[in-house]
């Protein structure tokens, strides 16, 4: 299984680069995952989305509906794709330390 070492802590990742243990998430992990997604710098809007996803996940143990993510953060889906080229599920959720979405998504 691939893994990466961040601040001396080994972070295990699955084949798609999603964290195995979301509890090990911190901002430095998000920055390292951003680099693997080809995102140079995490801006305020990146963090707004990442933090919303994390808060929602903490409460509901699932990612929100994409439409809700857009509405609550005020970001259009197109803008989310600009920020996270792999999209809300495979890009933003990955950086927020959420598990990879399964099913017909």
């Amino acid at each position: 299984m691939p893994s990466t070492i961040i601040n001396g802590v080994e972070i295990e990742l699955d084949e798609d680069g999603f964290m195995i243990d979301p509890d090990l998430w911190n901002e430095d992990v998000a920055r390292a995952l951003a680099a693997s997604e080809g995102i140079d710098e995490l801006t305020e809007d990146h963090w707004k989305i990442i933090n919303y996803l994390r808060d929602y996940f903490k409460q509901y143990h699932i990612a929100p509906m994409v439409r809700k993510l857009c509405k609550e953060t005020g970001c259009s889906l197109k803008y989310i794709y600009d920020l996270f080229p792999s999209g809300p599920a495979k890009g933003a959720c990955k950086l927020a330390g959420l598990p990879k979405p399964t099913g017909c998504v």
Binding site: D16, Q59, H61, A63, V66, R67, V105
Partner: protein
């Protein structure tokens, strides 16, 4: 693991993930022998499979009718050749001529390489049954893919996507891993969205006892398909139904049909029947999910462990019936963009939804254009049987597998001005087509059919 000796393959579940769905992976050195044992067991049970093994004359009719072959031009993706990957083993061990003459009659010894070939090609077939539809002998090659995947599963070889869906279903009752609080939160959000956009009060009751109708949505609707969920809620409210969504089975799909018909598919059926019994419902209505509707309509009666006391219908059947009785007031001008219909393969080649989908779409849109061919002759979206793999090699393959569909959509002209609608009323089709309409630059937006109904309803 995206490739094995030049063959593309989906990422596979780890041994730990296989154990979660009750399979102990077979060690590599034992795999060939075990594969033969399982094949022997299965061939004794299924005439449909033996017919595919014994009756094919290699007339080639299936080749140009398979979107996978048309997209990849890989000879192993011709349906009869794909079946040949098992047939050559069947011949070698279970026929007289194969045992005596071996390679001379196309028989081959079982080996790990053959098993890896099965994994590559049985997961490029989307089980769409277009080849079965055109076979002059009535051979259903999908049955061969079913059996190939079942044997692979017993050996411990299952795509990560399918295995994780099986585990999520067992754990929480849906494929996306939605727990009840997440279900309720999303449905409350849908109620707000309906109020904002349509000015109508719609509630989505969850686990409401003594409901008449138990609605089974696809869990993908909770993440990606808001208008399908909203449309269903608006429809049931409009007709004044006493309805509910069960939190224990918030899933129209049944991936068991696609990789494990023995345990996973059967387990999901029992879960559904338990929910219907606990909630005291009178009827089960299915949401937009192609393979799931086939699994429900065609397999529940023979898989159930008790008498099935509930009629099970599809939401399209319900809507079309009321349109024919003139009991829905609909304004088609609410959907005035050019629209074409992608027929989900399982609806039209397994469940007879062909006419009802058209009754609905003609009543709720003003500029409907059929694809050629359509209905039972339609081509698959390329994602059928959930081959929605997104690692780079398999994603590239998905683009090839949707090439035929893209040509069909383009030929209708609906996307010419960049504002067309591709109605694809199935969660797998939607998940495949959302990115594929961009890859092929089709100028269309992908929607469900219930989505369009919700928009066209005229409220008093």
């Amino acid at each position: 693991m995206p490739e094995y000796k030049g063959m593309v393959q989906p990422v596979r579940a780890t041994p730990e993930e296989m154990r979660k769905i009750h399979i102990e992976p077979v060690p590599d050195e034992q795999k060939p022998q075990k594969a033969l044992e399982y094949l022997d067991q299965i061939r004794k049970k299924f005439r449909s499979f033996v017919m595919a093994m014994e009756s094919c004359t290699k007339c080639g009719q299936c080749a140009e009718n398979c979107h996978t072959y048309l997209g990849t031009r890989d000879p192993n993706n011709i349906p009869t050749n794909r079946a040949e990957l098992i047939r050559k083993i069947y011949k070698r061990y279970f026929t007289l001529e194969g045992r005596w003459f071996g390679k001379l009659v196309g028989a081959e010894d079982i080996s790990l390489d053959v098993i890896e070939q099965w994994y590559s090609y049985f997961y490029q077939c989307s089980q769409c049954r277009r080849c079965a539809h055109v076979c002059p002998f009535g051979i259903d090659t999908c049955e061969v893919t079913f059996i190939g995947r079942q044997i692979l599963h017993w050996l411990g070889i299952t795509p990560k996507l399918h295995a994780s869906v099986g585990a999520a279903m067992e754990k929480v009752g849906n494929h996306t891993g939605l727990p009840k609080p997440g279900i309720v939160d999303t449905l409350e959000f849908m109620s707000e969205e309906i109020m904002d956009e349509f000015g109508v009060e719609v509630e989505f009751p969850v686990d409401k006892p003594d409901s008449d109708i138990m609605y089974i949505p696809s869990s993908a609707d909770f993440l990606l398909n808001p208008y399908t969920l909203m449309g269903a809620g608006m429809f049931f409210t409009y007709i004044g139904a006493n309805w509910t969504i069960p939190s224990t089975v918030t899933e129209a799909g049944n991936f068991g049909l696609l990789f494990d018909q023995y345990w996973t598919q059967r387990g999901n059926v029992m879960r559904l029947l338990n929910a219907a019994q606990e909630l005291g419902v009178k009827k089960i209505v299915w949401g937009e999910c192609g393979h799931g509707w086939r699994a429900a309509k065609m397999y529940i009666p023979s898989l159930a462990d008790r008498p099935v006391r509930w009629p099970i219908t599809h939401i399209h059947d319900e809507i079309a019936d009321l349109i024919r009785k003139n009991e829905l007031k609909l304004d088609p001008s609410k959907n005035s963009k050019p629209v074409t219909l992608h027929d989900p393969c399982n609806y039209v080649r397994a469940c007879g939804l062909n006419e009802n989908m058209r009754t609905i779409i003609r009543a709720v849109t003003t500029d409907f254009r059929e694809m050629t061919p359509h209905g039972a002759d339609n081509f698959c979206c390329g994602g059928g049987s959930a081959i929605l793999f997104d690692d780079p090699e398999m994603y590239q393959r998905r683009i090839l597998l949707s090439k035929k569909k893209a040509e069909q959509v383009r030929a209708t002209g609906v996307g010419k001005n960049g504002d067309g609608i591709l109605c694809a009323p199935c969660s797998i089709c939607k998940a495949q087509l959302y990115p594929m309409v961009e890859e092929h630059e089709l100028g269309v937006e992908v929607k469900g059919l219930v989505d369009l109904v919700g928009k066209a309803l005229v409220w008093k």
